[in-house]
Point group: C2
Chain length 232, copies 2
Amino acid sequence: MKNATIDLPSLPRQRLGDQIADVLRQQILLGQLPPGKNIPERETAAALGVSRTPLREGLLTLEAEGLVEMSPSKSPVVANPTFVEVSHLLLVQSALEELAGECACDEATEDEIDKIEDMHKMMLANVQEPDQIKFFQIDMAFHEAIVASTKNPSLIKTHKQYHSRLWRVRFLSARRRAARDKAMIDHGRIVEGLRHRDKEQVSSEMREHLRRAIDNIRIVFAEEEASAAVNG
Amino acid sequence: MKNATIDLPSLPRQRLGDQIADVLRQQILLGQLPPGKNIPERETAAALGVSRTPLREGLLTLEAEGLVEMSPSKSPVVANPTFVEVSHLLLVQSALEELAGECACDEATEDEIDKIEDMHKMMLANVQEPDQIKFFQIDMAFHEAIVASTKNPSLIKTHKQYHSRLWRVRFLSARRRAARDKAMIDHGRIVEGLRHRDKEQVSSEMREHLRRAIDNIRIVFAEEEASAAVNG
DNA sequence: GATATATATTTGGTATACCAACTAAAGGTC
DNA sequence: GACCTTTAGTTGGTATACCAAATATATATC
């Protein structure tokens, strides 16, 4: 053989549609594509330098994830869930994280628990930081790390999808100082439970942690509504 | 206005890709497209009388659901999960049904509980029927009805997807008489709990009902493996 | 001037055409 | 005769072209 298995580092192949879905998903999460925003196919495809076919495949992926809504003869639009919808999502996510907590007690390595605890400590150090974006990112990574430690690909994937749909509203919620304080208490108990491999404690704490978040999010929705009423 | 809002009954518009996904999903569940089967795009599109574009969109939907696997330069193929993968799926499904049981106690109407109990009675009448397909279909409808009674669209949708991926293996499992007997006991407790709106009983029974199924499914996989070793 | 109709434009939905990567078979060389 | 090379054919991936429905606009009529 001459040069077989060289595997030149050119990253040639992931489907374009998947890459596009990744790009658009990021833009939605970061708020560059805000809820309600239209995503006309031709225009967006041109902006990304691709044709409509793979763009469409990416949009369909995001529709399946619930981040984009498509209806006949109308431009695809970034999803803008109501409070009721968000509370439904949070219930499912709470069940997924409850399971994750239970499985993590069996499957997480000591090293993974170390990493999770590090994140918790880092959050504690940033809890009263005015720059809330850092705090929030670690918060999300904290939850992702616990789910990842279960090594259950289906759980990880489904959780990630709900994570995306809840991203924005949880970001808005995390700006509330009271919410952050409560979160730190919950997280502390979760880390403690993981250390002792206490399934009951970890799973119930993770479930209740998310369910309690519903109250903060209700307030966020009420504030947004009031703000919208003022601004028109 | 002359004839507006007439809405002629021609069922013109659901996206072709969605219809195709529905057709292929049915064929996969019914075993007409068995696990491992190739689904070449051109050939399948021609057989369905459509072009590759909407067929592809349907296939991508099924890929997102985990029923089909697509890899570059290879024909899409019907997923053929291993026992480990199925056990992972079942864990997630058990968490979803646990949540469904809890929510159903709050949200189910008396009428819905009547329907669920009717299904249970019908299963009891068919438990020793040699024609297992009827028993199995009611079994699946029983679980679906409980989830539907929660009125949580996200939960319903996600549950349905896991339902599809687990359909075949649960069908194989339901052929075992011992599994059917156990299922009837569990179902009886679930119906009883629903009647009393006992969240704790219903949710824990639904969780354990599915987790116990893992044992039967392990046997099914072992049998299939042994059979495969003999036949080829 | 208001309304209604016709037309032009924009949208998403679908079909077709083209391309690159992979596979396999055929042919040539040692 | 075995092995390497080349070429033809198949596959999925992408781009383009076409179509129908919906909408907005302009024009004609009352």
